[in-house]
């Protein structure tokens, strides 16, 4: 089962490799990982999407907590949360498909952020499923390049994870 985990870590030398090394060294999967500093410049927040059964997930969260650099681990899977991902998609556009591409962009409330005679570069944010959706529709035109950020997540409601 897919799990989305937020990890609050000390923003210090080598912390990313401590976390990624833990996953590779113990044979855990990383589907995506995004990391950036929080309001506190000494702290970074990672969002990791991983898969595994309950036993593996229990080990993943325990092992993450065991790292000295880890401040807090939250598995959002059983919680009510919002996930958002950014994707940049460079799609081939012939004269006859340009209008269709723009319609798709419009339907998904995406944006065209770069144009050449033969390509559109599209920016889209949304839940990962929405990004998968636009990719499927654009694929027949020929996707030349795609970059996805991996999702970042935040819990619903008034309560926040400090840091």
């Amino acid at each position: 089962m897919k799990h989305t985990i937020s990890v609050l870590v000390e923003n210090e030398f080598g912390v990313l490799s401590r976390v990624s090394g833990l996953f590779s060294g113990r044979g855990f999967n990383i589907e995506s990982l995004s990391v950036a500093p929080t309001l506190d410049p000494d702290t970074s927040r990672m969002t990791i999407v991983t898969t595994g059964d309950d036993r593996i997930l229990e080990q993943i969260t325990k092992q993450l907590n065991k790292l000295i650099s880890t401040i807090k681990v939250v598995d959002f899977t059983a919680k009510d949360f919002i996930a958002r991902e950014l994707a940049l998609i460079k799609v081939s556009t012939e004269a006859e498909t340009r209008a269709e591409a723009l319609r798709i962009v419009d339907i998904f409330r995406a944006k065209v952020i770069d144009v050449t005679p033969k390509t559109y570069t599209i920016e889209i944010t949304g839940a990962p499923a929405k990004i998968n959706g636009i990719i499927e529709l654009l694929r027949p035109m020929g996707i030349k390049e795609i970059v996805r950020s991996g999702p970042v997540v935040i819990g619903r409601g008034a309560k926040g994870v400090a840091g």
């Binding site: 080598g14 490799s17 090394g21 036993r55 080990q59 092992q63 065991k66 790292l67 000295i68 880890t70």
Partner: protein
């Protein structure tokens, strides 16, 4: 007052109570060694950095204090890796200080540069690269704190040369504030109460104890728990000296080369109480049939150890000393119920005694050839009660665990988790440095011994009177045993060819060398070795194809033991 980085390092070590370090100098630590020259901290120069780490490891295992190592950058640092991984697997508190090339050169493939923080990240509890001298004192404080608290482990500090020579005010912090590291010491009282109830309901309980007992110094609490409930105690390799092995409740070692009664008890028990052990595959054999009739209580300070390999009915996170003391107190007030438990488990103890009688830990003795088990029995008989025994890894290690009846805590130092050949000799020197007055014996094999035999020079230089017993079968015996049992005796690369004259090897270093080739020479050689001052190497030419038995073949359940060849 302004101090240099290397002065700050040594001052900080002093504040942590360090009076002895093990190490090897080099270009990137030459400033530290220059300050060490006039420092009250003693230093033992090994002949290889790996040996320095094993020595510091054994110093920690035997004393309970943090072992300290200094090594230079590049190859000096990479040579420490096997030692660090050994300490990590066995949860040994240690601080390793490595020199590093100057910060402006880091990443430039400079001379003797290695990314030792990157290399040791998976085999240290934590590590640091100190780029700013103002962080140095705090880093040393944190390193010692992390190494010795919680589940102990090795911590590495990588110190670039330019940081060693720059200066700043020295202020040693009084306390450590790590927001991401707060080990749980106090066991949850409600969980402990549940454990007491489960024990009282059990009819076939077994204690399964590991190295955590020594690390937590919970030996007397364990003894109290076992004696007041009369529950039998199976010990892992790491815990052979944690519970007195001549005790009537001692089952001996469990697992791949465990005692018949230990493996049968665990297989048949209805309650398994795992204490400071981690369900290693060498203990469990086929995991799905390990203690499959039992409910499981697991006590450990490290939450990741719990439910890692087996499911657990009652987890208790905490320091064993605290948890066992609370559990004992809880059982003490239930005197009548404990009496009922003892009554109700009489049959269980009788069953176990039956297993002990049916298949005791034994071997076929010989009047002519030297049986390795006999040598170990004689070593036990002729050595002091508090003698510290180290081993290498292989058959001799298992025979030692099986036949040397340890009675005192922290007297058996062996590489359990990583299984590092070459551990025993440097470990013996580290233990002897910690306890100059006690008897220290390295029980070794001829294969393992050659992995760090250069440390004979260190023993001689510091006149550390370690006694070495090499059980020489001219084989890499454990692998040979597997080849005999599972590979139709195809002894691929396990025969060590031309025999080494270990007596001459000892003499080359200026040590005493003795040899026994017949059974009736064994006792005389041991007596002479123990009576001879200084380092002595004893070579025993043992029966070459002796096997370690019982043995649970890989992939089998632990009750499916091979008992005889």
């Amino acid at each position: 007052m302004k101090l240099t980085g290397s002065q700050i390092l040594l001052e900080s070590l002093g504040r942590e109570g360090v009076d002895l370090v093990f190490g090897y100098p080099g270009g990137a630590v030459i400033n530290i060694y220059d300050d060490l020259f006039s420092s009250p901290i003693e230093h033992i120069l090994t002949r290889h950095e790996q040996a320095a780490v094993h020595a510091a490891d054994a110093y920690a295992r035997s004393t309970g204090k943090v072992g300290v190592v200094i090594a230079t950058s590049g190859p000096g640092a990479t040579n420490t890796v096997t030692g660090i991984a050994t300490a990590y697997m066995d949860s040994i508190p240690m601080v390793v200080i490595t020199g590093q090339v100057p910060t402006p050169l880091i990443g430039n493939d400079a001379f003797q540069e290695a990314d030792i923080c990157g290399i040791t990240r998976p085999c240290t509890k934590h590590n640091y690269l100190v780029k700013d001298i103002r962080d140095l004192a705090r880093t040393v404080k944190e390193a010692f704190y992390i190494a010795r608290t919680g589940r102990p482990g090795p911590v590495l500090i990588d110190l670039p040369k330019d940081v060693q020579v720059s200066t700043c005010d020295f202020v040693y912090p009084d306390s450590v504030e790590l927001r991401g590291y707060k080990p749980t010491y106090a066991g949850n009282v409600r969980q402990i109460e549940k454990a007491a109830q489960m024990i009282l309901q059990a009819r076939r309980p077994v204690l399964y104890v590991g190295g955590g007992i020594n690390l937590s110094a919970a030996n007397s609490e364990l003894l109290t728990l076992a004696e007041q409930t009369r529950m039998p105690v199976a010990t892992t390799l790491m815990a052979m000296s944690a519970f007195p092995q001549q005790h009537p409740l001692a089952l001996g070692m469990l697992g791949m080369h465990g005692a018949y009664c230990a493996n049968m008890s665990v297989t048949e028990c209805d309650l398994l109480i795992a204490i400071g052990a981690r369900f290693d595959d060498r203990v469990t054999g086929r995991i799905d049939s390990f203690a499959e009739k039992a409910r499981v209580i697991h006590v450990d300070i490290d939450p990741t150890s719990i439910k890692k390999n087996v499911s657990v009915d009652l987890p208790i996170v905490g320091d064993l000393k605290d948890v066992l003391a609370k559990l004992n107190a809880s059982l003490t007030v239930k005197g009548a119920e404990v009496d009922e438990l003892i009554e109700a488990t009489t049959a269980w103890r009788e069953t176990i005694d039956g297993w002990k009688k049916k298949h005791p830990m034994t071997y076929r003795s010989s009047k002519s050839v030297i049986k390795p088990q006999f040598v170990i029995e004689k070593l036990r008989e002729l050595s002091a009660d508090d003698a510290i025994i180290t081993t290498e890894v292989g058959q001799h290690q298992m025979w030692t665990a099986q036949f040397f009846k340890f009675t005192q805590p922290r007297t058996f130092l062996t590489s359990g988790g990583l299984g590092t050949m070459g551990f025993g000799l440097p470990a013996a020197l580290g233990a002897q440095a910690a306890f100059p007055e006690r008897q220290v014996i390295d029980i070794s094999g001829d294969g393992s011994f050659q992995m760090n035999s250069q440390e004979l020079a260190t023993l001689m230089q510091y006149q550390l009177p370690v006694k070495i017993a090499i059980l020489n079968n001219n084989f890499l015996g454990m692998v040979r045993q597997w080849q005999q049992m599972f590979f139709e005796k195809r002894y691929s690369q396990t025969c060590l060819g031309l025999p080494i004259d270990f007596v001459k090897l000892a003499q080359a270093y200026g040590a005493t060398g003795l040899r026994a080739t017949r059974n009736d020479e064994v006792e005389g050689v041991i007596r002479e070795a123990f009576a001879t001052p200084g380092p002595v190497l004893m070579e025993f030419k043992i029966s070459r194809e002796e096997n370690v038995l019982p043995m649970v073949p890989a992939g089998k359940a632990i009750h499916e033991m091979v008992l005889a060849s």
